[in-house]
C-alpha cells in the first residue's frame, strides 16, 4: 500500500531517486537544492540505497561525472540551482548529443549578481536550447512523480535524452507538502532497469564515443536530437498514462486545466506559483469573474499543438513569467514568446500578455493575481492588450 508522508520538495526528490534505484549520484552543495543530496547521502550511508555517491568538485564536474557514468551504463542523478546550473553549461550539449539519459534536478534560484537564494526560473530556462527535456513541478508530490516519469521517458529507446526536473526553490523545495509514496514494486513495474544499449563503454565491445565531425555533418548531428524531440510527445503520453495507472495518479501529460470551463481569462503558470493561482481562480470565480488556470508541465518539448487548441478557447491569457529574457521579443520573460509562437497559426487567438512575478524568490500574493485579472478583463473590453509585459507589484494600472 502506498503511504502518505509530509515531505519538502527536496526530500521528495530524494525518495524518488531512491525508488528509481539510481546507480551513480554526483553531489555538490548550493542552495536551495542541497537538501536533496543530504537526504540521499544519509540513505547511502545507511545502506538503504546502493549507489555510488560522488562528491563532485563543482557543478561542471557533477555533469561531467554523470556523463561518464551514464556512458558506462549507470542510471545517474545530479542536481543544482542558480549559478551552479549555468556553471555546468558546457557539458549539457555533450550529454544530450551523446544521447545519455542523465537526470538533473534543478531547484531553481535567481542568478547572480548578487547572491539571492530565492526562486527564479531563469537558471534552468537559459538551458532550454541544450537538447534536454525540461519541466516544472508545482508541489512536492508532483516533484516526486516527475522524477520517476522522466527516467522512464528519457531512457526510452525512442528518446534517449537527458532531463531537467525542476521545482521552485524554497516554495517547493523547502515547504513541506503531502506526498503519497508508492511501493518499490510499483515503481519497478513502471520503471525497468536502465538498458544503455550497444554503445555502452565496455572492453568487450569497443566503441569510440564522440569522434570529431566535419562541418557538413553538423546539421545531421543536430537533426538526431531534433527528430528525437518530434517523437518525444508520444512517449511522454504513454509514460504518464502508465504512471497514472500503476501508481494511481491523474496527471495530464503536458498541461493541466483548472476551472477553465467557460473561462474568459486564464493564468498561464509554470511551477510553484500555480498553487496560489488555483486559490486566486476559485476566489475570482466566487466573485463572478470567469477565470481559470492553465498549468504547464513541460517547457521542453513545448506542447505547441496542445496549447494552441486549449488556449484558443479563452479570450485573454496572462502568462506569469518567473524568468527574464532581457531584450527579448516581449521585453519580459521566456514563456510569452513561446506561447505566442504556439498560437500564431491558431484560427482563434486569445489576447496574450505577460506578468513578471515572483522574480528573485518574491512571493506572488493573491492580490497580484487579482491585479492581473483586472488587466486581462480590461484588455478584453478594449479588444487589445495595453502592452506585452507588466511588472507585478511595481506598477499601478488603472482597471
Amino acid at each position: 500500500m502506498a503511504r502518505e508522508v509530509t515531505l519538502s520538495g527536496c526530500a521528495a526528490s530524494a525518495q524518488a531517486v531512491k525508488l528509481a534505484r539510481v546507480d551513480v549520484i554526483c553531489s555538490y552543495p548550493i542552495r536551495p537544492y542541497t537538501a536533496a543530496m543530504m537526504e540521499l547521502a544519509k540513505m547511502v550511508a545507511e545502506g538503504e540505497l546502493d549507489a555510488e555517491f560522488i562528491h563532485g568538485e563543482g557543478e561542471h564536474a557533477q555533469l561531467s561525472v554523470v556523463y561518464g557514468a551514464s556512458a558506462a551504463g549507470a542510471r545517474t542523478f545530479t542536481g543544482s540551482s542558480g549559478v551552479g546550473v549555468t556553471y555546468a553549461m558546457e557539458v549539457y550539449s555533450p550529454i544530450s548529443g551523446a544521447r545519455l539519459p542523465v537526470q538533473m534536478m534543478i531547484a531553481d534560484r535567481a542568478l547572480d549578481p548578487p547572491g539571492d537564494f530565492g526562486s527564479e526560473h531563469t537558471d534552468a530556462m537559459s538551458c532550454r536550447d541544450q537538447g534536454w527535456m525540461m519541466g516544472w513541478a508545482e508541489t512536492p508530490q508532483e516533484a516526486f512523480d516527475n522524477h520517476l516519469i522522466n527516467y522512464r521517458i528519457g531512457e526510452d529507446k525512442r528518446v534517449m535524452l537527458p532531463q531537467f526536473v525542476c521545482q521552485d526553490g524554497y516554495f517547493v523545495s523547502h515547504i513541506p507538502g503531502k506526498v503519497l509514496l508508492p511501493e518499490q514494486a510499483q515503481v519497478d513495474e513502471f520503471l525497468p532497469a536502465y538498458d544503455p544499449g550497444p554503445h555502452v563503454l565496455d572492453p568487450k565491445h569497443p566503441v569510440s564515443h564522440g569522434p570529431q565531425i566535419r562541418p557538413d555533418q553538423g546539421a545531421i548531428m543536430d537533426l538526431q536530437r531534433a527528430e528525437a524531440f518530434l517523437d518525444l510527445p508520444k512517449v511522454i503520453e504513454e509514460a504518464v498514462d502508465s504512471y497514472n495507472r500503476i501508481v494511481g495518479r491523474s496527471y495530464s501529460p503536458f498541461i493541466e486545466e483548472y476551472l477553465t470551463d467557460g473561462a474568459d481569462i486564464v493564468f498561464f503558470v509554470q511551477g510553484g506559483h500555480a498553487a496560489t493561482a488555483r486559490h486566486a481562480v476559485r476566489h475570482l470565480r466566487d466573485q463572478g469573474v470567469k477565470a481559470g488556470l492553465v498549468k504547464l508541465r513541460f517547457v521542453r518539448p513545448f506542447p505547441s499543438r496542445q496549447l494552441s487548441e486549449v488556449l484558443s478557447k479563452f479570450k485573454a491569457v496572462g502568462v506569469v513569467e518567473t524568468s527574464t529574457s532581457y531584450g527579448g521579443s516581449m521585453r519580459g520573460g521566456n514563456l510569452l514568446p513561446e506561447v505566442r509562437a504556439a498560437l500564431y497559426d491558431a484560427p482563434e487567438r486569445p489576447l496574450t500578455t505577460s506578468f513578471m512575478a515572483g522574480l528573485g524568490g518574491d512571493v506572488v500574493p493573491l492580490k497580484d493575481f487579482y491585479w492581473m485579472a483586472r488587466i486581462l478583463s480590461s484588455a478584453i473590453k478594449a479588444g487589445r492588450v495595453g502592452k506585452t509585459v507588466y511588472w507585478a507589484g511595481l506598477e499601478e494600472v488603472s482597471a
Partner: protein
C-alpha cells in the same frame, strides 16, 4: 627524502574488483605485439604524443577504457568519425577528463557490485594534454586524485596548447616561443614565466595517491613499466610523459625521440617515481649536458640570449638538488614603462 605519508588513507571508493597485475618488462622484445592505438590517425608525422599513446595502449592492453579530453590526442586522432583507439574510448571536454573518468569508474564499481555487469574493473586511463591536466583541467584532475578513484591520469606534455596552433600552457618552458608568448623588443625572452611542475601538484596533497611518475618517449621500457605500475596500483595514479612536438617546438620530425633523450640528458626533463612517499630517481647525480645542447635543436628557443639561457640553466640545476623542494625562480618583474 620526504617521509612516507603518515596518514594511511584508503581510497574513498569501496574495494576495487580489479585483480589484474600487469608484468614489468626488461627488454624491447618483451613489449606486447598487439596495438590498441592502431595505424591510421591524423597526427603529425613524428608526433611525440602519438608515440606515447601507442606505448601506453600496448602497456595497458585490451581491458582498458580511454578518456580523451579535447586536444591533439582527440582532434588529430578522431578526424573525421574514425579513431585509432581499438579499445573503448570516450571524448571528454578539455575541462573535465578527471571528472568523466571518475564517473566511468564509479559506474563500473556499482554495476559490478550490483551484478548488472560481469568481469573486472577495466583500466581507466585519462589521456590529457598539459592544458587538460594542469590548466583548464586541473580541478578535475585533482578531484579524481582526492576521491581515490581507481584510474590512471596521464598528462602527455608537449609543452603547449598544440592543437589550437601552439599557444603557451603552464608547462611551456621559460623562453619558449609560442603564438601567445612571441619574443619581441618589449619581451625579448618571449615566455617570462617558469612552468608549473605537474607531478608536484599531485604529490603530497592528495592522500589517496600512492604512485606518481615522470616518463619519456625516449625510454620506452621505462614508460611502459610506469604505466603498468600506475595501473597495478590500487587507487589513483598520475603519470607525466614528455612528448616532444615537431610542429610546436620547430624541429625536424625525425628527431622527436632524439630531442626527448636530450631533454633528460640536460636535466630539462627529470625521470623519477614517487612511491608512497619515497622518491626513486632513474639516474641521480649524473653529470648533465648543458641545456644549450637541447635548446639549439629547437627553433622555439632561437631568440634566447645568453642571459636567458643562463636563467634556464640555473633553474635546471636547482631542480636537481631535491625534487619536491620548491625551486626559487626569478619572479617576472613588471615591465618598465
Amino acid at each position: 627524502m620526504t617521509p612516507a605519508n603518515p596518514i594511511p588513507q584508503e581510497p574513498s571508493m569501496p574495494a576495487t574488483v580489479k585483480t589484474q597485475t600487469l608484468p614489468l618488462l626488461k627488454k624491447l622484445s618483451q613489449i606486447p605485439k598487439e596495438d590498441y592505438y592502431v595505424p591510421g590517425h591524423r597526427t603529425c608525422a613524428g608526433c611525440g604524443p602519438a608515440l606515447q599513446y601507442k606505448l601506453v595502449a600496448k602497456a595497458a592492453g585490451p581491458n582498458t577504457i580511454f578518456i580523451g579530453p579535447t586536444g591533439c590526442m582527440y582532434v588529430a586522432n578522431a578526424s573525421y568519425l574514425c579513431t585509432p583507439y581499438a579499445v573503448p574510448w570516450i571524448h571528454a571536454q578539455i575541462t573535465n577528463g578527471g571528472a568523466v573518468a571518475s564517473g566511468i569508474e564509479a559506474a563500473f564499481q556499482v554495476l559490478l557490485r550490483k551484478g548488472k555487469r560481469t568481469g573486472e574493473l577495466p583500466n581507466i586511463i585519462v589521456m590529457a594534454g598539459d592544458g587538460g591536466a594542469t590548466d583548464i583541467g586541473l580541478q578535475a584532475m585533482s578531484a579524481l586524485m582526492y576521491r581515490g578513484h581507481d584510474a590512471l591520469f596521464i598528462c602527455y606534455d608537449n609543452e603547449s596548447y598544440a592543437n589550437t596552433g601552439i599557444q603557451t600552457s603552464p608547462t611551456t618552458p621559460y623562453g619558449g616561443n609560442t603564438t601567445f608568448t612571441p619574443p619581441g623588443k618589449a619581451i625579448p625572452e618571449g615566455k617570462r614565466l617558469f612552468p608549473k611542475d605537474p607531478p608536484q601538484l599531485v604529490i603530497g596533497g592528495h592522500p589517496a595517491v600512492k604512485y606518481v611518475a615522470t616518463a619519456s618517449i625516449a625510454y620506452p621500457i621505462d614508460l611502459i613499466n610506469k604505466v603498468r605500475k600506475g595501473l597495478n596500483q590500487k587507487g589513483p595514479a598520475f603519470l607525466h610523459i614528455h612528448a616532444p612536438c615537431p610542429k610546436g617546438w620547430k624541429f625536424d620530425e625525425s628527431k622527436t625521440v632524439e630531442i626527448a633523450k636530450l631533454a633528460v640528458e640536460t636535466g630539462m626533463w627529470n625521470l623519477y617515481e614517487w612511491i608512497d612517499g619515497e622518491y626513486k630517481h632513474r639516474e641521480r647525480g649524473k653529470e648533465l649536458k648543458p641545456v644549450g645542447e637541447y635548446l639549439k635543436l629547437q627553433r622555439r628557443f632561437d631568440h634566447l640570449k645568453p642571459e636567458h639561457i643562463a636563467k634556464l640553466q640555473a633553474f635546471v640545476n636547482a631542480r636537481q638538488k631535491a625534487p619536491g623542494v620548491p625551486v626559487k625562480v626569478p619572479v617576472p618583474m613588471p615591465r618598465e614603462a
